[in-house]
């Protein structure tokens, strides 16, 4: 049978198939769509930037012979014990509960194999995670599920979470299918309830309070742990300045492409700004405070390949963080489960029902039968491979730009392909010196 397009039928750009399906779902169920993953709409992104590379006026490094270092130090500002990571790619916060214990272990194994860090999530620290992560960042979220001072002291760094890119202004969510006895016990919740967490911290409001909160965390940990502050990208110019004023060693900036385990579709697609637009604002804020490269900046949200890594660093980040891509590396959306994705009403490459707990790949589930499918050793190896490729790709681009360290990449190495990307990134449109919108004068 010929496709609708072949038959001359015209699909509405406004009411496309996804919009029609969403209306039908709302009418059928009376509830809004909740899903995982991150924003799926087209967004200005790092793809809209290009490296210029070297020729006569710039001097390249030999691709396979000359050093291009990749190490980064996080948290060396306030005399805490900093985290030294070998590559500028870290694993973002993802909770046990949202992910299986096997997935958390695999993340730790993969990250540790290449000398980088992992991050806990909205559900506390598990032994699997601590045991297999050489460098572990412990998150302090509004819910404080499983928050334990012993874990604060056992962590390598602390991360105060104000928001995430998928839902700036929103709290955590974990549906009843995934609130098993173990998850419920760690979170002090009844088994099987639909957990909807607070979006505001329970014991502080505003930047002045945050400074006092960070002081308390430093006191509890005897000033040994670097303190990260994670913000969802919405008003990063102001939020970054306030985070620095509050005493952050590291600011984690998560763009709207950043993933989630469970959030309303309307939230994922309609709140926050792309990391391409957020990152230059954050860098400007740090520069104005004379804190750029002192308070470290980690960018996340849509990092897929070494080009994304290199471009984020060139725009001024000190490192990037990956979540969705790490899960894909573990085995999420693997074609080997194509038939099972179909049975769930999805397809390999499209699966985003992380909230549902029936992940065939055993990653976003608490079902022991499904979770047992994920071999933490093999999955960790896949993640390590992927992280090595990200690093090698970024090094390739950096050497082409004549850089002996990834952190030497700079905005002058880039041009923008589109007017939108040029305006957001403050990188000149290719072939011109034009930066629409006035460039670097956000404040």
């Amino acid at each position: 049978m010929r496709s609708p397009e072949d038959r001359g039928l015209r699909e509405s750009a406004t009411y496309d198939r996804a919009a029609i399906a969403a209306i039908q779902h709302a009418a059928d169920t009376g509830v809004y769509d909740i899903r995982g993953w991150g924003a799926k709409r087209p967004l200005p992104h790092f793809d809209d930037l290009l490296f210029l590379g070297s020729s006569m006026s710039r001097y390249p490094l030999e691709g396979y012979r000359e050093r291009c270092d990749t190490d980064v130090v996080l948290g060396d500002l306030h005399e805490a014990d900093p985290i030294h990571i070998d590559i500028p790619v870290t694993i973002a916060g993802m909770s046990f509960g949202a992910l299986s214990a096997q997935a958390k272990e695999a993340l730790g194994r993969g990250a540790s194999a290449v000398g980088t860090s992992t991050t806990t999530g909205d559900g506390g620290m598990t032994d699997e995670e601590r045991g297999h992560s050489d460098k572990l960042v412990y998150q302090l979220l509004p819910s404080r599920y499983g928050m334990n001072p012993d874990h604060l002291r056992a962590a390598d760094a602390l991360e105060v979470v104000l928001g995430q890119g998928a839902k700036p202004g929103g709290g955590g969510m974990l549906l009843g299918q995934k609130i098993t006895e173990r998850v419920a016990g760690m979170r002090t919740l009844p088994v099987g309830i639909d957990q909807r967490s607070a979006c505001r911290h329970p014991d502080w409001t505003g930047p002045d309070d945050l400074a006092i909160k960070i002081h308390e965390l430093r006191e509890i940990t005897d000033w040994q742990k670097p303190v990260f502050v994670k913000i969802g990208a919405s008003r990063p110019y102001y939020d970054v300045k306030l985070a620095v004023a509050a005493g952050a060693d590291v600011v984690v900036l998560d763009g709207m492409q950043g993933g989630t385990a469970a959030t309303q579709e309307v939230f994922i697609e309609h709140v926050g700004i792309p990391i391409l637009a957020a990152l230059p604002q954050a860098v400007q804020a740090l520069q104005e405070l004379d804190m750029h490269r002192k308070v470290k900046l980690i960018a996340s949200g849509g990092i897929r390949n070494g080009a994304d890594v290199a471009k984020a660093l060139a725009l001024g980040a000190d490192a990037v963080s990956i979540g969705t891509a790490a899960l894909i590396a573990l085995g999420d959306n693997d074609p080997q489960y194509a038939e099972e994705y179909e049975l769930l009403g999805s397809a390999a490459g499209y699966y985003d029902d992380f909230q549902d707990g029936r992940d065939p790949a055993g990653i976003t589930t608490q079902d022991p039968r499904l979770a047992a499918r994920l071999d933490p050793v093999a999955a960790g190896h896949r993640l390590a491979n992927y992280l090595r490729v990200l690093t090698l790709e970024a090094q390739t681009l950096a050497r082409a730009c004549g850089k002996s360290h990834l952190l030497h990449l700079e905005p002058e190495d880039l041009v923008a392909l589109t007017v939108e990307a040029a305006a957001m990134s403050r990188i000149p449109l290719a072939g011109t010196s034009w930066v629409p919108g006035g460039g670097r004068d956000f404040g």
Binding site: T29, G30, V31, S143, R144, M147, N148, P149, D150, L152, L175, G176, R187, T188, L189, P190, I193, D194, A198, P202, D203, W204, D209, I212, K213, H215, E216, E219, I220, T221, D222, W223
Partner: protein, 239 residues
Amino acid sequence: METLNETLQETITFDLGTEGVRDLNAELHAPTARRYRVKNPLGAHAVAAGVDGDLEILIEGDVGYYCAGMNQDGRITVEGSAGPGVAENMMSGVVRIRGNASQSAGATAHGGLLVIEGNASTRCGISLKGADIVVGGDIGAMGAFMAQAGRIVVCGDAGDGLGDSIFEARVYVRGEVGALGADCIEKDMGPEHRAELKELLTRAGMTEGADDPAYLGRFRRYGSARTLYHFNSDHSGRY
């Protein structure tokens, strides 16, 4: 830091008028004594935060934010009032405030006992995760917000929004209660609840009330109706 010999155990005295909170907490985290006396706290923040051991700490004056934060096993008394987040995320031990407490007292506390002999401000016991809180006076609005487990006793009045989105925590209030929060309802007071209340008041040192049936009889119990535990679009107007 001066060392005194009081009663049978050595007591170490800190004067926060001349010494820093960092010095105090460093000592408390690697204790060389079992008893401590803190003079002139002067509203300092994070006083005795992160205590991890069976220490007896007497703070002679008012404290700022997060006094006794994340306490484990410490027996900490404030001879004054406490700022926001006193005993936040406490795991165990006993924290006693002789005066009043500001907002978010006992926030997210997992265990132990927090006694506030005066009044507590808003969000007392917010996201409580298993600790017990006994307040001799009133509490402000939004008490026990999203409280998950543990018990809260209020000998005075409770402000509006009590127990909003409460989970399995139990709340006892002797005085007037403002508007209840979403999904919070009054529940029956059975013999087991009266026994629980008596035990909590006794542990808090409020034995006069604990031993008076008429006093106990004026308390009412509040908890979750459990109607918001699962998504239901018919409840959208209740959030």
